[in-house]
Subunit: 347 residues, 2 copies
DNA sequence: TTATGTTGTGGGAGCGCTCCCAAGGAATCC
DNA sequence: GGATTCCTTGGGAGCGCTCCCACAACATAA
């Protein structure tokens, strides 16, 4: 009775062959309009959908792209960065009729177990790797397994790697210049982990900017693991060397830093100006409102997908690595409005 | 030379048949220790992994579970809820050797296009539906397509549906009782959207709690779309009727509400106490620290996976719907410490 | 007329796996 | 000893699709 719905069966009902149905389903040319109409009618009536696994097996591509978020990032799931990234990637995939497979490494999960699942042939066509660590072993594994991939971040691989990144150095540099312009004399830095490319770049970009502006940092540098707690304790330590401006490498750490400033009975931005990085926390969430270097997270996600798609299609004429500009969004914590008032430039 | 690696080829190299290799790969019994060792050696030497699509086609299951986040939730990606949920689901899947496929509906994407992709046979074994709307059409589609699914939330379907939810009513009720206990007289409510089960339940739970405690709300009710902005404007409106306590249906809206209170030159908790729902914002992120009804988001995600797994395995002896308890976590915005001080009960 | 495309259609082969049956050999039972 | 069972192994069939070649039907050119 209810014969299993497949190309053969649809063909039987439409009075054509399996091959013709396949052509209609895949929108191939060289099908007469009449035949096409007949077949489409049967498909619509039955609600037939081709079997994905069979298609994958025969065509050797799955239409699935993996997004890999390694273990250290597990805690990062508390910040909106990955949500945005996923949203961007997902949007792009919807447009390309691709499916997103998400691989999150839990701390307790053996990394190699995940890797072997990811590179499982016939599961995904390619992967996007996020939160890349410096010298990430995952990248070598992917290359060894001949799995096409795109990295989000700046990979420090000896080989050429397709990548998408935000301009971390430039953004951090602009924070330094901003402090200089506001007349701050004793800058400090709370850097993200230096085992990530973003950590390295935000640190060096800021230091370069300071040097350019003739400011010195004199060891007022700490490093934190992206969390509020880390920002808070790093800031508490830094306050001993009385900085008047701090560049904090992530919004979440900046929230912690503001907390520490408040606890020391100091005022932000009057006593200590703060500029952070990400531009990802809703503006109204913290008081005073955070001045932050914004990066286009969603666009990064979208672009990673389209780049990977190009790689998969062999469309290698496109650029190998893309860097999105970042933008210093001035709100309250940097004290720009304050400075303007003092010099009578603004209200 | 490099013959394609498949069961046949591995078998050839190990001097056994395709079938035997298959048995070893799948850990089936009834393979002699010696044969097993031989085959495993060849597999290890070659790095062979069985082809997922071929396996899916033959076995009629994919080992992939879909997680669906409908369009309205797109904006919600700004809050950590979905990150936690994904993390929980992902952890559970890693443990069960399952792969997570994420389907996010963008506003601009035609819902039915996604649906047809989701129910594509041979893609996923089953799906988890989140952020369910009341009378969600998606649920009917899934049923029609015979796609096994589990709902996160409280589905209001005429049919029996497997579901996992947090005790929204109970949590909201406890907020009301807490206000009553603290002697607040003029409670108000900022409810989440009433087209979601969480919105309906948090609203009714709070109102029930008030009734129980003999407090009336007199129209001091607004509704917001989960965002800070909505919380802020709802609170601004409510302040006209001078409430002394507000239950806000989500942490993000509570952040906006606090902002509105501050802008009205009122003090929280002295003038207006605030209790919110979710328990998801890092405690230090806002000042004063948010008293919130915490729900175990990660556990909900994990449980949804294990429930779906049970459904897929035909292990229907397990409960059809699971409700996780919620817990009122007292911090600063409710004014409990304040009340205690006043009555001399605590420091 | 015959040679030469062009378009539409059908069907064989094969993707790599699982499922299942059969068969040989070893172990066990009466 | 022969009959019965169990364990181990091999291979046919088939999952539903794509790829490719063959071929019929028709148009076009010499």
């Amino acid at each position: 009775m209810a014969a299993r719905l497949n190309l053969e069966e649809i063909g039987r009902r439409a009075g054509v062959s399996r091959s013709t149905v396949s052509r209609v389903v895949n929108g191939e040319p060289n099908v007469s309009a009449k035949t096409k109409r007949k077949v489409e009618a049967v498909i619509a009536a039955t609600g037939f959908r081709p079997h994905a696994a069979a298609r994958s097996l025969a065509s050797r591509q799955t239409g699935v792209i993996g997004l890999i978020i390694p273990s250290e990032a597990g805690t990062l799931f508390n910040d909106p960065y990955f949500g945005r990234l996923i949203l961007g990637a997902s949007d792009a995939m919807n447009g390309l009729d691709l499916t997103l497979a998400l691989f999150v490494f839990g701390e307790e999960i053996d990394e190699s177990a995940i890797i072997s699942r990811v590179v499982n042939p016939g599961l995904v066509d390619g992967v996007i790797v996020t939160a890349t660590r410096m010298a990430d072993p995952l990248i070598d594994h992917l290359r060894d397994a001949h799995m096409p991939f795109v990295v989000i971040g700046r990979p420090d691989s000896p080989h050429a790697v397709y990548s998408v990144d935000a301009d971390n150095r430039g953004g951090a540099r602009s924070a330094a210049l901003h402090f200089a312009q506001l007349g701050r004399q004793r800058p400090a830095l709370i850097a993200p982990p230096s085992n990530t490319s973003a950590g390295v770049d935000r640190r060096s970009g800021f230091l370069d900017g300071l040097a350019e502006a003739g400011l010195s940092i004199d060891g007022r540098v700490r490093e934190g693991d992206w969390t509020e707690g880390a920002g808070r304790s790093a800031m508490a330590e830094l306050l001993a060397s009385s900085p008047d401006a701090v560049f904090v490498g992530s919004d979440r750490m900046a929230v912690g830093a503001l907390q520490a400033i408040r606890e020391a009975n100091l005022q932000c931005p009057q006593d200590v100006a703060v500029v952070s990085f990400d531009g990802i926390i809703p503006a109204d969430m913290v008081v005073p409102r955070l001045t932050s270097v914004a990066q286009p997270v969603r666009e990064v996600g979208e672009r990673a997908v389209s780049l990977l798609k190009a790689v998969l299609d062999g469309d290698v004429t496109k650029a190998e690595s893309v860097v999105f500009p970042t933008e210093l969004v001035i709100r309250e914590t940097c004290g720009a409005a304050l400075a303007a008032t003092e010099t009578g430039t603004a209200s």
